[in-house]
């Protein structure tokens, strides 16, 4: 299936979870926040929140800013 990850189209295994997606990205889950289709996903839900085809996923973290 296809998800839109940070605005870019990506292939992902069917039924992958948020945690699964983060792992394929080499991202440490403890330092990011995730939004699926405009709604925040709580960190505790990453292992069980499954993604569907064409979901829009945003993975953000803190960077330097003023």
């Amino acid at each position: 299936m296809t998800v839109f990850l940070n605005g870019q189209e990506r292939e992902a295994p069917d039924g992958v979870t948020v945690l699964g997606l983060l792992e394929t990205m080499d991202v440490r889950p403890g330092r990011v926040a995730v939004e699926v289709n405009g709604a925040v996903v709580r960190r505790a839900d990453y292992p069980r929140r499954g993604l569907a085809d064409r979901d829009r996923v945003e993975v953000v973290h803190f960077v330097g800013g003023g």
Binding site: L5, N6, G7, Q8, M25, D26, V27, R28, R31, V32, A33, V34, E35, G38, V40, V41, R42, R43, E58, V59, V60, H61, F62, V63, G64, G65, G66
Partner: protein
């Protein structure tokens, strides 16, 4: 010492200076500058993880959230909706309900969109955020932000990154006279130490700055200058300055000097 304590939403911070983490030459200089500034709270931005550059959690490698409080911002948001989404993500990424709320209305000046700002403040306060809105020097808007439940109002001194210092002391003074139950923190436009001192002498509760330090030739030294300037300005505010007079008043005794007869 009381002069140095800033209280936001019932929590005390040991410095009246809040500093940003953007635009430093490198993380080491940033870390040393933050330390030299004495800041107890630092701002961070929320951005998409760069998928092409693995790792790269630089900001949390350089800053220990146990020693300074992180204040995430919604910089780059041009409408209430984006700012609200960003705030929610920031809360999830971070450790607290603090949010520096920016809803920008103009790309060239980065001036706030006060309509959108009020709207987003109302939503986020209901969701339990501690909202610190970046606003302009409009007294009417400041009062509405306060009435909407903002934990502080943060009027600009001048455009972000401009280094111009307080452009309109009269309007800033009106806000400081009016908003007395929550802190007024001047955010943006401070270019050098005296700019910060001026703001504190007017009675501001704190100052937030980034470019003024990060962009200086020697950011660590400028951070220390800012720290001292904010202390100096606060002390001068508390000490009660002399009135301004158009003519002179001698500081040495008038009588008893040597004069030719």
């Amino acid at each position: 010492m009381k002069s140095d304590t800033l209280i936001i939403a019932g929590r005390s911070y040991s410095s009246r200076l809040i500093v940003g983490t953007g635009k430093y030459p490198n993380p080491d200089i940033m870390r040393r500058a933050i330390e030299a500034s004495g800041a107890a709270m630092v701002t961070v931005a929320v951005r998409r993880v760069d998928l092409s550059r693995r790792g790269g959690d630089a900001i949390l490698d350089a800053i220990d959230p146990k020693t300074v409080t992180l204040l995430p911002n919604t910089a780059g948001c041009y409408n209430a909706e984006d700012a609200i989404r960003t705030a929610r993500l920031a809360r999830e990424a971070g450790l607290s309900d603090l949010i520096k709320l920016e809803v920008i209305g103009d790309e060239k000046t980065l001036f706030p969109d006060t309509e959108g700002l009020l709207q987003a403040t109302r939503v986020l306060v209901k969701e339990g955020f501690v909202v610190l809105p970046y606003t302009n020097d409009d007294l009417v808007v400041a009062r509405r932000l306060r009435d909407a439940g903002a934990a502080a109002v943060m009027p600009l001194a001048a455009p972000i990154g401009s280094g111009l210092g307080v452009q309109n002391p009269a309007t800033l003074r009106l806000i400081l006279e009016e908003i007395r139950d929550i802190p007024v923190i001047v955010d943006a436009g401070v270019g050098t130490a005296s700019d910060a001192a001026v703001v504190m002498e007017m009675g501001a509760d704190g100052v937030l700055m980034n470019t003024g330090i990060a962009g200086a030739s020697d950011p660590v030294k400028m951070a220390r200058a800012m720290r001292l300037a904010i202390e100096a300005g606060r002390l001068a505010y508390e000490a009660g300055r002399i009135p301004r007079k158009p003519y002179a008043t001698a500081s040495s005794p008038i009588d008893g000097s040597i004069r030719r007869e």
